[in-house]
Symmetry: C2
Subunit: 306 residues, 2 copies
């Protein structure tokens, strides 16, 4: 059951040094998601041999161009390549106006349905739910309304301990074990306590995507214990004032949040075009939080069940 | 006095095989122009070491995404990189709505002025003029309103024949020669006929950009004698019916137009993603018009004075 994130773009405002605008491709079990969709995201999807047509839902964090200007092109290519499966789109309300205007002027009617779900970037709420996960907004503070997204697995079932399973144990009873029930005989006597034949469920995995934002220490509550935290780090600490003035964060601040939230791993990205060499970002973050990594193009981060 | 065209994108609708959406960077004397601006054009401009900030005017042929979806990102990057010089933008009327909506939702006020000049794609008219050139619309026939652009040099001055120039010939008289005047003495007697001291002016150079269109044989009139004709060739002749149904052209049709118009050179592009190997396009065109070339990414076509 895969739970993984592939980075398609790592640069902020102006593409530079071969780094692209923000987009991330997330696969959780059999569902495929795109988070943000900067210009040329469709090219990046191709480059890393991912599938645009498999995307079930797209989440757009805010309406700065470097986070969504690839969306109309991607929707259009899905259409031209014959997509008929509906696509769910989560974004700020204005996104609908923008897409509608483009389709109007290009005289295009998409062959598939786009179910648009506007969300309120200023409140924490579940905006997506399927059998396996929920996605919640993470209210951020940027120059315009902006939200992060928390992907959280629903609780797993307990695991059957095959070594302990008696011979001839029925499928029906295995189903009962998975639900956490004890096993009783025909005359209602307790045959096995659930815990005798099972192992504890794997903990739910989680991924938090914190898009453009100034440093918000209070996020540690919502992000508590997250497996992987992606947090923007547009600047280094030396530019902390500039970061604050432009509603962005530094690598050090991202690392502090990861530490305070007791995250297991931190990914940093959205680097300013002023930096050619990114190694100081990793160094700065690792001084505070050792499990810090650069979220650069083409890198895939797996979150294994364990 | 340069007159050259660099191809930034050669593919139609869906980017494929590393080929990009349509955009061309044109330099004529000290002026820089961009014609169409598909997604990721700003990246292509960087890749080929051209300058976005030097662009004086942008011409958009029509509002299909593969011809303009890179525009908002490019305008935004110009802004972020400190542009203050005004930019002239020529496009269909709807383009203004689109740009305005993006800027509204991103809460952006560009640091420079964009002078927007909507044009009528259905009539042939001069939409741009400076000291050295004019740019005229070329009415095309596509699924939506679409225009090509004819870049035409104004007549050159006659050239001074330095070998024939008498010693001590004044700058004032050289100016007269350049204007085509004869040279008279103080008592109004004819000293030199203009043709004695000059060589004929170089002929005006021209470049025609024929964006998405079905095959229009009548264009040979407006394109007569053009130095370089770019014409879309989305399909090969084997798909002529499909070309016609989708308001596109074949390589053979583009070549026939180049031949009928007595163009000096033909560039073909806007290839369908169904073709990986483009050599059949060149072969098909060259059977009809030998000076046919593929307009592929990174290629620069010079039109020398001669």
């Amino acid at each position: 059951m895969p739970f993984k994130v592939t980075i398609l773009g790592s640069n902020s405002a102006i593409p530079a040094y071969g780094r692209h605008h923000t987009a991330q491709y997330i696969q959780i079990k059999n569902k495929h998601f795109l988070v943000d969709c900067g210009e040329a995201t469709q090219n990046q999807i191709k480059r890393y041999k991912l599938s645009a047509q498999k995307i079930n839902a797209i989440f757009i964090s805010h309406l700065h161009g470097d986070h969504y200007l690839g969306l109309v092109g991607l929707l259009s290519s899905m259409h031209l390549q014959g997509r008929t499966t509906a696509l769910n789109l989560y974004g700020p309300l204005g996104l609908r106006d923008i897409i509608t205007l483009h389709l109007k002027y290009s005289d295009t009617t998409l062959r598939y349905k786009v179910n648009f779900f506007p969300y309120n970037a200023n409140e924490e709420s579940i905006i997506y739910e399927d059998k396996h996960i929920t996605v919640s907004t993470i209210p951020l503070e940027h120059r315009i309304d902006c939200s992060g997204f928390l992907f959280l697995e629903k609780p797993h079932e307990v695991r059957i301990n095959k070594e302990k399973l008696p011979e001839g144990f029925s499928l029906e009873n295995i189903g009962r074990l998975k639900k956490g029930e004890d096993i009783f005989g025909n005359d209602s006597q307790l045959l096995y306590k659930n815990s005798e034949l099972t192992l504890p469920a794997f903990p739910s995995r989680s991924y938090a995507y914190c898009s453009d934002t100034r440093y918000l220490p209070h996020l540690k509550r919502q992000l508590k214990g997250v497996n992987v935290l992606y947090h923007e780090a547009t600047f280094l600490d030396e530019n902390e004032l500039r970061a604050s003035n432009t509603f962005h964060s530094t690598a050090g601040q991202a690392a502090q949040l990861a530490k305070d939230a007791k995250a297991k791993k931190l990914l940093i990205g959205h680097f300013s075009a002023r930096y050619k060499d990114l190694s100081p970002f990793e160094q700065e973050a690792r001084k505070i939080f050792s499990e810090s990594y650069l979220a650069i193009e083409g890198t895939t981060f797996d979150i294994p069940l364990k």
